[in-house]
């Protein structure tokens, strides 16, 4: 569905604006391709330090084994100087923040790395940027159609934009679940992924809670910036992921028993 919406948008803009529409699409697409190529060749973010095997042999070897099990090459691994536990991936690269090492044990950190390897194996690290750039394309063309199009074109443009946002959210959530499923199959201790998510959820909850009865007087002032948005979430909640992981683990256990 997501892939069908982009050609529909292109058809709509060609119908509404003719040659100018074609120029607009080619111009925006060219800019986005250049942006994509540039960003895929550059490191994301400051404070990234390459993982050295001599410093972290257990982590390096652990990720190498997971990559081998996944049937992909050893990814580039960077450590991020950030005390907030976080991980992300792009291209063939995994980034783990130093904050992860303060709150998770070794198996749990490898589980987080396995989830990111799942994204690489499933092609998400290529798909996600394309979908995001598709969103920019939609934003520019929708705005143009809202300014220049007839009433019916305006209506259709808005409908397509909302459709793209809803589909994008559902697609990306689905890919997060898929990365978890891949990680469960790669891990020696699948339970560690659930434990890692439970600890990360606890961390987030603690940061967001003004006063928690179990830990009096904790009023963390380090909450993440809250974004005001009407756009649907692209990440499933920790609860959703933990529930799905538990279900998947039970399925795996049942299959092993048969």
């Amino acid at each position: 569905m997501l892939y069908a919406l982009i050609p529909l948008e292109v058809i709509l803009i060609l119908y509404a604006l003719g040659r100018s529409g074609l120029t607009l699409i080619l111009g925006v697409s060219f800019t986005l391709v250049v942006l994509y190529l540039w960003s895929s060749r550059h490191r994301f973010g400051d404070g990234l330090m390459p993982l050295e095997r001599r410093e972290f042999p257990w982590l390096y070897d652990g990720i190498a084994k997971l990559a081998e099990r996944a049937g992909i090459g050893m990814p580039k691994v960077y450590l991020l100087d950030d005390y907030i536990p976080n991980a992300y991936s792009f291209g063939n690269t995994i980034v783990l923040s130093l904050g992860l090492f303060e709150v998770l044990d070794r198996d749990e950190i490898l589980a987080v790395a396995a989830h990111e390897l799942g994204h690489i194996k499933n092609g998400d690290t290529i798909l996600f940027p394309l979908i995001t750039y598709g969103r920019y394309l939609f934003a520019v063309t929708t705005l143009t159609l809202l300014l220049l199009g007839s009433n019916i074109v305006k209506f259709l443009a808005l409908l397509l934009y909302i459709g793209y946002e809803v589909e994008r959210s559902s697609f990306m959530k689905g890919r997060e679940f898929k990365a978890d499923e891949t990680a469960l199959r790669l891990l020696r201790v699948p339970l560690s992924l659930r434990k890692a998510l439970e600890e990360l959820k606890y961390y987030e909850d603690l940061r967001e809670t003004v006063k928690v009865s179990g830990v009096p007087s904790i009023e963390p002032s380090i909450e993440r910036e809250r974004k005001f948005t009407f756009i649907p979430e692209t990440h499933p909640t920790y609860e959703e992921r933990i529930w799905r992981i538990t279900y998947e683990m039970n399925q795996l256990a049942n299959r092993n028993l048969q």
Partner: protein, 121 residues
């Protein structure tokens, strides 16, 4: 760190810091330098249910308050954050007393003078 609040019913630095942060600072003033993992092991003895996340959040909050500072250490044991104190306990106490007296002098100048002179006697 300038204290903004003084709890009359609390003892020691718990009067100006939340209880768990005060406990972490007491420990940090003793050891001066530690990782969050080491502080977690210490805190766990007194609070068996405490989690690594709690200690990490509190230590970073103490960094924001300016009582601790954090740096990355690289070595054979891996890469990790090392926390160290920015001020001694004595310096911190002096700053607390100064802040409170400044606030009292600003708001209740005469009464504060009168009481301090009475204490001298």
């Amino acid at each position: 760190m300038e204290p903004h609040e003084f709890k009359l019913n609390e003892e020691g630095i718990k009067a100006v810091l939340p209880p768990l942060e005060a406990e972490i600072m007491e420990h940090m003033w003793k050891v001066k330098v530690a990782t969050a993992g080491q502080v977690y092991e210490y805190m766990k003895e007194k609070h068996p249910d405490i989690r690594r996340s709690t200690v990490s959040i509190l230590m970073n909050r103490l960094c924001e308050r300016g009582l601790l500072k954090r740096r990355v250490e690289r070595g054979r044991g891996g890469m990790r954050y090392i926390y160290s104190i920015t001020t001694t306990r004595e310096e911190f106490e002096v700053r607390v007393v100064q802040s409170i007296l400044d606030a009292l002098m600003e708001n209740f100048r005469e009464a504060t003078y009168a009481y301090l002179s009475k204490i001298k006697k």
